[in-house]
Symmetry: C2
């Protein structure tokens, strides 16, 4: 029977002790190792985390499909993980990746974060496209989106 690790163990220890949520998931942020841009935010279950650590390729868990998912398994746009970090309370993972192919987003763009939210204003917000060029034709690649 394993004891629940203490807050001190989780925050200052050297054991990986992921704090999975009620759905068995941790949040994972993937950034482009070259530019520092956030490419995507997704989730990993224990198996996705294990496979990512073992293979150095990004695996996620798709909440919409309820399935383990190797990034790029449909598109070929895999992610080679250069560095993985875990946060203080071990409920979030940060991976710095080399994105293979033209992009990470199922909409056909380099990053999922292709719209800016204007700041220091109130009322209705109108987004602005940024880094929103389509770099590949998603319809050609996916039978169903990532």
């Amino acid at each position: 029977m394993s004891e629940k690790p203490s807050t001190r163990d989780i925050e200052e220890g050297l054991a990986l002790a992921p704090k999975f949520d009620a759905g068995g998931l941790v949040t994972c942020v993937a950034t482009d190792v070259a530019t520092g841009d956030v490419l995507m935010v997704a989730h990993m279950n224990a198996e996705a985390l294990k496979r990512t650590i073992e293979t150095g390729e990004a695996w996620y868990f798709s909440r919409s499909r309820g399935a383990l998912w190797r990034k790029g398994e449909s598109s070929g746009h895999t992610q080679r993980v250069i560095e993985m970090r875990v946060d203080c309370d071990q409920d979030a993972i940060w991976i710095k990746v080399e994105q293979q192919g033209p992009g990470a987003c199922h909409t056909g763009r380099r990053t999922c974060f292709y719209r800016v939210v204007p700041l220091r204003q109130s009322g209705a917000v109108t987004l602005e496209f940024r880094d929103a060029e389509k770099t590949f034709d998603a319809a050609d690649i996916y039978r169903k989106p990532d």
Copy 2:
């Protein structure tokens, strides 16, 4: 009565239509605008998102405290938001911030991601400290952690 926006509206539209989870939250990733490093991953409810947009200072919702939270309200280590983006399905926010003061993490460090997970190995994982220097004394600052 507002209609639920279509996937196309959410992904390709210019209206901010955050997809809050069952707890009323979206995930927020804060990166350092100067270095691109991920400083922290936290959550925003509708009010935190609204206040962040209106003020250009980062507001979050603390799940552990069940409370709206202006980053730095205890420590003075506020975050000035330089740019905010929303992702394709609008359930994640990315903010590029100028971190005020010595750090973002309640453990007394610049970033919450101060441990590396070694890759391409199987079995038990031993983390490695990286960017783990304490930049401030958390015990001096917080009555309770962020």
